[in-house]
């Protein structure tokens, strides 16, 4: 995973609530077995069917910060949603509320999800609509979003922040605790289910 410290770019205002992962990337694009190359599926139905859709507007073509309505990323557990956003050029998604699995997946794939109050989301929407070239800086080190004359702090737990700043792989971190895992395994009851081999019915 790439480390994330700070990112400056322009913002695309996505004025929709409860954007589900089927909209971020439909199931037909999930048949691929690669981890990259999902940009063609990103919001593909809205891009095809709605000429005014924000990502169809040339002025937002270079946006790297997506500012969305509440409850972004509901539905499926597909991490492909995060990969598609990254492949589509986004490094940050800002919303007042995220779905749990999407948010969790984002922290594993290097996409920063920033929670701001809805009033701040609306202010960012207004700024990006008034001037699409508005430079927005998302600083994970200082936990703040700045644009124009505005400075908006955000919360993120210290552990996740540290992992993102360092670009650390979770598996490697967990492997440091192998003795704890082995001790736990020694205590597990023998009757717990096993997939191999099947016991005769």
């Amino acid at each position: 995973m790439d480390a994330f410290t700070t990112h400056t770019g322009t913002a695309a205002p996505l004025r929709r609530s409860a954007v589900d992962t089927d909209q971020i990337i439909p199931a037909e694009y999930l048949k691929r077995i690669t981890r990259t190359g999902f940009e063609d599926g990103l919001f593909v139905a809205w891009r095809r069917n709605e000429p005014d859709f924000v990502l169809n507007q040339p002025r937002y073509a270079d946006a790297s910060i997506l500012v969305a309505g509440p409850d972004f990323g509901t539905g499926s557990s597909r991490e492909h949603a995060c990969w598609a956003l990254l492949d589509g050029g986004f490094r940050v998604v800002i919303s007042s509320r995220f779905a749990d699995i999407f948010k969790n997946n984002s922290t594993k794939s290097g996409l920063l999800t920033v929670i701001l109050p809805q009033a701040e989301v609306e202010a960012l929407w207004a700024a990006a609509e008034a001037d699409p070239t508005t430079q927005v800086t998302v600083d994970l080190q200082d936990k703040q979003v700045t644009y124009g004359g505005h400075r908006v702090p955000f919360e993120i737990d210290d552990y996740t922040r540290w992992r993102l700043l360092e670009g650390l792989d979770d598996v490697g971190l967990t492997e440091r605790h192998l003795t704890d895992i082995e001790a736990f395994e020694a205590r597990r009851p023998a009757w717990l289910p096993k997939a191999l081999p099947a016991q005769p019915a």
């Binding site: 004025r15 929709r16 609530s17 409860a18 589900d20 089927d22 909209q23 439909p26 199931a27 037909e28 999930l30 048949k31 691929r32 077995i33 690669t34 981890r35 139905a45 309505g69 509440p70 409850d71 509901t74 539905g75 499926s76 557990s77 597909r78 991490e79 995060c82 509320r97 779905a99 749990d100 699995i101 969790n104 997946n105 594993k108 794939s109 737990d157 210290d158 552990y159 979770d170 598996v171 967990t174 492997e175 605790h177 704890d180 895992i181 736990f184 395994e185 597990r188 009851p189 023998a190 009757w191 717990l192 289910p193 096993k194 997939a195 191999l196 099947a198 016991q199 005769p200 019915a201």
Partner: protein, 474 residues
């Protein structure tokens, strides 16, 4: 300190806990399917890692599989390559796989319980958000992304933050023709599509206790549609009876030891929930969705809502967008909405009891001539059971199509899809835009509403049928 059921299961699986870090949670069972796993296996290979516990891992093919001509190679080359990748990975890493054509193949959330792998008090994960289904057994079961799939394969653990606790209490008796699907659709409409974010839901109360295991699975399955991390129900005699004698259930002295432990898996008196929701079972009626998320639902006796009457600007805009996509006019009675397709199946409602309920309504009748009905059993096991009971003939004689097992039209990764503009009544779990095919429109319903709708060609409750044992009162 008194604990909730979910807290008990969580605490029993903490491998390591340290201030300022997530807990490391042990995973008892990892279910794997073809869609969310290939990149995880690639990650293992790239890092030179192995699967720590192949015997705690079970794979099947479900999302991509065709439901016709299932013994032939998959026609779609991209789907075929994904299924072949799973076969190669399972063989290379020593994981048991139930491939197409295998007696144990089926939707991952149907086969776990069917094989007795899903057991009370365990932690279960899968790269699929409907893993919450297994919570019906008092397991802590949740969906994960592909990076986490890789993490569990490598370490049999997951870093987790302690979830908040929500109680959904449903007391009283469900009226005739009202099922657990109606209960969960009503719950989601109440909580909202992400209203349970950060929470584990425990479903409790006399109406929940009275439900069969199949009906409990339907409820827990859709916990994610309210945004919950997981949903669970305390195990009881119904749970134990369901599990007894299943291939992977404990036997003999192990069974006794297991049941003794399982009986402790109840929320303690005085345990505190962060959030509580209460529903009166007797007040519930058949529920259908009108919009494009599972929280946009209403009792079938109501009409398509008018967005202009919604005060909150965000919700009003969402309702306007939903109605535009769904091609619906405010004020139209839901019962007047005509459908092209009825889909009976999925991890929500593709189990034997669901098929029995629908078959009973269709027996000796014929579906509407302009409506097609797809019946897709959740697993080969369900299919064989249904055929042994003659349900397949009930469906085909009524004019429905009897298919092979898999996820099918729930998400349209195989050829079973809606065409643009087509409308379905579907027993699945998501009515998102394009979910069942590009431009397709989905109304989520229970199996009995699905069957009644197939007979009339428009959204219909069983009580609306002319020969209903209990006539409609609303």
């Amino acid at each position: 300190m008194p604990k909730t059921l979910a807290e008990k299961v969580y605490d029993a699986h903490v491998v390591r806990s340290a201030a300022g870090e997530p807990d490391l949670l042990y995973i008892d069972l990892h279910l794997v399917h073809e869609v969310t796993s290939p990149q995880a296996f690639d990650g293992l290979r790239a890092a030179g890692r192995t699967v720590r516990h192949p015997e705690l891992t079970m794979a099947t093919e479900d999302h991509n599989v065709p439901t016709l001509e299932i013994l032939k190679p998959i026609a779609d080359p991209v789907s075929r390559a994904q299924v072949e990748a799973l076969r190669k990975n399972a063989a290379e890493f020593g994981i048991r796989l139930a491939p197409m054509g295998d007696r144990d193949q089926g939707i991952v959330h149907v086969i776990g319980p069917q094989l007795g792998l899903t057991q009370p008090g365990t932690t279960i994960v899968c790269g699929d958000s409907h893993t919450s289904t297994h919570g019906a057994f008092g397991a802590l079961a949740f969906g994960i992304g592909t990076s986490e799939v890789e993490h569990v394969l490598a370490t049999q653990t997951l870093p987790q933050y302690r979830p908040k606790q929500m109680a959904v209490t449903v007391d009283g008796e469900l009226p005739e023709g009202v099922s657990s699907k109606d209960v969960i659709l009503a719950v989601i409409a109440e909580i909202g599509t992400n209203g349970a974010a950060g929470h584990v839901i425990e479903y409790r109360g006399s109406a929940i206790e009275a439900l069969s295991m199949e009906a409990r699975m339907t409820i827990c399955n859709m916990s994610i549609e309210a945004g919950a991390r997981a949903g669970l129900i305390a195990p009881d005699e119904t749970t134990f009876e369901f599990l007894r004698g299943r291939p992977h259930a404990p036997q003999g002295a192990d069974w006794d030891a297991a049941v003794e432990y399982w009986r402790t898996l109840r929320t303690d008196e005085g345990a505190v929930f962060d959030t509580e929701v209460v529903l009166d079972a007797a007040s519930l009626t058949p529920f259908v969705t009108w919009g494009t998320n599972p929280g946009q639902g209403l009792p079938i006796a109501e009409s398509v809502p008018d967005p202009a009457a919604i005060a909150d600007e965000g919700e009003r805009r969402a309702a306007e967008q939903a109605l535009a996509y769904m091609g619906l006019t405010p004020g139209t009675p839901l019962r007047e909405i005509e459908v092209d397709t009825v889909f009976l199946g999925s991890c929500t409602n593709g189990r034997i009891e669901d098929l029995r309920i629908a078959a009973e309504l269709l027996r000796g009748k014929h579906i509407d001539p302009d409506t097609r009905m797809l019946v897709v059993p959740g697993s080969v096991g369900v299919k064989l059971q249904a055929e042994a009971e003659g349900l397949d003939r009930v469906f085909t004689e009524a004019g429905a199509e009897w298919r092979g097992a898999g996820c099918s039209m729930c998400l349209g990764m195989n050829p079973d899809q809606l065409k643009p503009g087509e409308r379905s009544a579907s027993t699945s779990n998501r009515n998102f835009q394009g979910r069942q095919g590009k431009g397709g429109r989905t109304h989520l319903v229970s199996p009995s509403v699905a069957a009644a709708t197939a007979l009339t060609g428009r959204l219909t409750a069983p009580a609306d049928l002319a020969d209903a044992p209990v006539p409609a009162t609303v």
